[in-house]
Assembly symmetry: C2
Homo-oligomer: 415 residues x 2
């Protein structure tokens, strides 16, 4: 369908619609975009603590709420949010209609509480835009082929917004949050942290998975795959510029000016790390597969994995990191297979952090890693594990030294 | 579709599902019916004050909420109620699924906030029952032909239940409330008020419109039209008997035993009455049409209407009653047409009550009216207006005397 104006998708999270004042503010943001000559589709989350309150109530009724019914229940939060925003828009003279996931035709798999989007019909959205209305769409929800209400899991509203932007070929998908963009490091840890004006999907993915929780990796991956340009910005600051743009290629030439060889986007700290070392495992095929197979079977996500090469000893040390919440299960599982794999010892260290530097072009500049290690060494920060990728170098260090490490690295690479 | 067991529809109001304890109680009521060998469809309202809270929130966002969006918003309350009840049933081992108005296919007119039910598809309900599940349906809501969410207005959940019971040819439609049935008078006014075991639709309609607010007239009319047997009972008392059955023909023979000529079901008091008298209107065609036409145009409901016959004077007195909430508008409207209709004076008396006696066979027993007037006369209660129907006699009396009148009439007819 052809529309007369370009389409912009705007996504507003729960804190952006948590009370009447914030809701009116969101309406103003949307209306000002409309007045600038765009068709706007707004994706709205559940207001404030609505979802938490519904979950609490469900837990008082049953210790194990049916997933299908939980989806029905939670979908009402986003419906309330979208109705409020539509009302606020109509109040200020901007025509708007709200649409549920089912009305929009967001067809998903039938896996309740973690459904995957299969397709979006979008006819209803087009019709609404063609009539000159703003379409307010409930985030986080969809409908399965057998007409059951589904939800998309954590970060689901971001995903709804990105998917809709992709289908509508939107000019940009604006993600409104309570921070004003992505920073080169956590401002609460690093005083000199700088807002990043533009960044690539890959760099953003690395920043996100390393703890810069502005947006879920899953939505970012979909945005990258479908080349949806993202603009992350604050719903509280009313400025057209500002925020962080995420796209395929950034104008590094402009920004990287003055830097010699490599451009470091940011330094991240991940404190939710536990290091597990399985020591002296016989060096034979299938051992690593066994270890990570049993962990995966229980849904334990493993982050970094290091295996030291065995030359002559015939034994390996295998180290990896997981999140704190699954320590007890991991310990039990590994004890069970310890004898089978012939491991000597299992050591668990809960007091570690992961610090990472992220930037494109790292791999072709070996000097970056050396500089990173030197910075840490100068401050007597011992490196326990190292892992590298195309655009990231991560080091596991003692939790006592995590924050200091981030500050020093930011000082070295981002000032 | 043929099911292997009879169907019962159960409707639970907002107070019946206002907290986890009550919700679990509702699940027990439903499950015990299932265990007795019935297919159960439960129609559920929004829990407790959910609807009020949503309306409050909307009013904080806009002084004039869009009706379409208000329907979207309010429909979430019933969705929450149904999801909670379905969870509670699954928890105790009774298979249940919740269904929205849209999922059930409750097709309505597109008049938001006061939609009329056009048809119910019911395939989803049948499928669910055939799989051995309890179908939990959101009350109060439907969907219009153009796929917009609609609501049915006040008493809408009763209406949903009655309509579904009709389509499914249910054995009975049980209406659960916080009272244990319909009484011969308001127990808070008349100490000796007695619960009525069974009553006809017409009698119930008269009791309801005269102020016995157990169920909205609209739902009762639909029940009468489609011969849906109703059973009004308390969700707090767990007894199979009890409550009040509403049906086409009651077993009066049993209950009326010992009464001589007429069976009075109940005595009602309606305190929301304002008497308006338009005095000395010329007796010419079109005057009454004019008066009640302008009132109707502004949606002012008129209850009793009395016009004294004009024999020789050539002028009439026209009196009628309305509810308190619309006095100011009625006064303004009538002043506007006063000269046009040639009325001498408009008198408004806010301090009146309406007392009524209700029972089948009244018209053929003229003595009943006389007995009623005598009872009031004996206590020096002046009758300001009288109106009679097939099954009801109503008198407007001074508000000071309303309660006393009800007690005396109950004493005369119901003891």
């Amino acid at each position: 369908m052809n529309l007369d104006k370009p389409v912009v998708v705007q996504k507003f999270g729960g804190t952006s619609v948590k009370n009447p004042r914030r809701i009116k503010n969101v309406a103003e943001i949307i209306y000002s975009k409309v007045k600038k000559g765009y068709h706007v589709v707004a994706v709205v989350s559940a207001p404030g603590d609505t979802t938490d309150r519904l979950v609490d109530m469900a837990n008082k009724i049953t210790s194990c709420p049916t997933e299908r019914e939980m989806d029905v229940l939670l979908s009402t939060g986003e419906m309330q949010g979208m109705a409020f925003v539509a009302m606020a828009l109509n109040e200020i003279g901007c025509k708007a209609v709200s649409l549920t996931g089912s009305q929009v035709g967001i067809l998903t798999s039938s896996a309740h509480s973690r459904a995957r989007i299969k397709s979006i019909d979008a006819k209803k959205i087009y019709d609404s835009l063609a009539r000159g209305e703003v379409a307010i769409v409930a985030g986080f929800q969809g409908v399965s082929e057998d007409d059951n209400i589904t939800t998309l899991g954590r970060g689901g509203s971001d995903l709804s917004a990105v998917a809709i932007a992709s289908v509508l070929k939107a000019k940009v998908c604006e993600i409104y949050t309570d921070v004003d963009g992505v920073y080169s490091s956590d401002p609460s840890v690093v005083k000199g942290a700088k807002k990043i004006d533009s960044i690539t999907y890959d760099e953003m993915l690395e920043l996100a998975s390393a703890g810069a929780n502005v947006m879920q990796s899953r939505s970012m991956e979909v945005a990258k795959k479908h080349k949806v340009k993202l603009h992350i910005k604050s719903s509280l600051k009313r400025e057209e510029k500002g925020g962080t743009v995420v796209m395929e290629e950034t104008e590094k030439t402009d920004e990287a000016k003055g830097l010699e060889d490599v451009f470091i986007r940011g330094v991240t700290l991940d404190e939710d790390q536990v290091r597990i070392s399985i020591e002296r495992v016989p060096d034979k095929p299938g051992v690593a597969a066994k270890i990570f197979g049993v962990l995966a079977r229980d849904g334990i996500n493993v982050d970094m994995i290091i295996q030291s090469s065995a030359y002559s000893s015939g034994v390996n040390d295998i180290s990896f990191t997981i999140g704190h919440s699954r320590i007890d299960e991991a310990r039990r599982i590994l004890q069970e297979i310890k004898d089978e794999i012939g491991a000597k010892e299992i050591i668990i260290d809960e007091k570690v952090d992961k610090v990472s530097i992220v930037g494109i072009g790292m791999k072709s500049h070996a000097g970056v890693a050396a500089r990173m290690f030197e910075v840490l060494s100068k401050k007597s920060i011992n490196i326990e594990m190292i892992s590298t990728s195309e655009i990231k170098i991560s080091c596991v260090v003692s939790a006592k030294k995590g924050k200091e490490a981030v500050r020093e690295l930011h000082n070295e690479f981002c000032e």
